[in-house]
Amino acid sequence: MRIKPKLKYVIGGAVGAAFSALAIAGPAFADENADAIASLSESTNLLWVILGAILVIFMQAGFALVETGFTQKKNAAHVMSTNFAIFGLGFVGFLFVGFPLAFGGFSYAGYFGLDTPMNAEPLIGSGNWAFLWKGWDHLGSSASPALLAFFLYMVAFMDTVATIPTGSMAERWKWKSFVIWGLFCGAIYYPIFAAWTWGGGWLGKTWDTMGLGVGYVDFAGSGVVHAVGGAAALAGAIVLGPRIGKFGPDGKARAIPGHNIPMAMLGCFILLFGWFGFNAASTFASSDIQFATVAANTAIAGALGAVIGMYWITFRTGKPDPGMMVNGMLAGLVAITAPCAFVSPWAAALIGSLAAIIAIEAVFFIEKRGIDDPVGAIAVHGVGGTFGVLCVGLFANGVYGNGWNLAFEADGTTPIELKGLLYGGGLGQLGAQALGVLVIWTIIFGIAFGFFKLQNKFTKGGIRLPAEMEIEGADIPEMGVLAYND
């Protein structure tokens, strides 16, 4: 039973602590060894964070291919370009505004629910390798490598959120309106829920304030990233309305096959690859070997998602639809993202399987409501992510994560156990998770919806492409070039 100190994002915590104790006890030369060990441990931990960040950044390519492959040829340059540009747009918003908001928050203490001003005392830290944030220090010469590693990992997560709506809103979204979303997401949208959970905000404290398990737990972001992205994807798809021709005169959904199935499948493989950085590197330390369990659970959920997705869609419509196989694997990956460190492999298999079925059914459900999501982003990220958040409250096995969110029993020393309903944890943890879900689908969804509605109102002609451009394809009028030329 390993205990995680304080907050999620601590580098070199465990070893560092061991070292501190040691440093006091031993003679001079032993101190030097202990020093070297601590330094080595911390540099290796940092390496893991950087490798994780790189893998997550590469997921952008995966999203781009999945979304472009699942949409029409006439818009391929447009869809691909939104997925390309979002990386930089979200990045810029986060670099200058969002990162301080999410993980500093000293001047927003009241508003965002963060109660420890960053400039007074480190919000997130572990001795000399602390993640500190003081104003815009992460941009100046005194920015430490550790702080920048933390930034890089976090910016990559934010970009995943930003890119999810480019899927559900594809093929009918004006470029210039999209650009504003990118900046907004990086600067404001993503940081809010991130601050409330990973940034030390009130949702992580509900173990104390409301007695809910160890408070809201989301290991790598089924909720913080995927459901939050999925909520924006839903809001955007509603505001834009369905593509011309998506629904017949009878209101029945008509399929508009993606223009390049192998492209989408390649994208899914890239996502699977990057997901190991997303989940396993969220231990934020290679010295926390739980990363291996996380990696295996991630693979198990993705594999089962793909297989059960294939069987489920064959059962539902008669053929192993490639699009749904992709969605099945992705749903498995999305759902395991929150619980990956806390559940047993059998549970990972079950979570992946159920997620695939739930996401496929969600595709049907969403279409039946007249909402057009060309790539299934709402079902996979929104619904799959929501399911994943709840799974922590169901399947957490108490082996890892006890004392998460610095949750201690009244005695102040016994960490509260992180156990789901099935492991005798009762409804507390499930309650914390359900509360997070509720916040996402009310407040966070509301913000996204309000943003798109307002933007739609104040943009001349709205944020949707003129019908002609949609019909002819957005590539020439918006990007100046077709995706494919002879």
């Binding site: 399929a255 508009i256 419509t317 008669g318 053929k319 639809d321 595709v363 049907f364």
Partner: protein
């Protein structure tokens, strides 16, 4: 001179080409087209919704022949392209006023 146009099933192209060669035809022009006909389309589901595949890939073969050769050529195409199953396609014949070979400027039968 006549222009013979045949709509055939794609996998029959090689056989039709060989048959035409055998009758002495020296040149043809081929286009990928899509056909809609008695063969009908079919309904598939993609990501859970249905869609109609109305148009089936076909090949259009066009060749200009001398009037005298029309019957032989039409027979040759028919024989090579037939599978007996619905959707085998059509052959039609149009009259041509004039034919020019661009390279030499030859006209009429010489240009074929």
């Amino acid at each position: 001179m006549k222009l013979i146009t045949a709509i055939i099933k794609p996998f029959k192209l090689d056989e039709v080409k060989d048959a035409l060669k055998a009758t002495g035809v020296q040149g043809i022009t081929v286009t990928e087209v899509k056909g809609f006909g008695r063969q009908g389309g079919h309904t598939e589901t993609y990501r859970g919704s249905e869609y109609q595949i109305d148009f089936i890939p076909k090949i259009k073969v066009e060749l200009v022949v001398d009037d005298g050769a029309v019957d032989t050529v039409v027979e040759a195409v028919k024989a090579a392209a037939v599978s007996g199953k619905i959707g085998d396609g059509k052959i039609w014949v149009t009259d041509i006023d004039r034919l020019v070979r661009i390279r030499t400027g030859e006209e009429g039968a010489d240009a074929i």
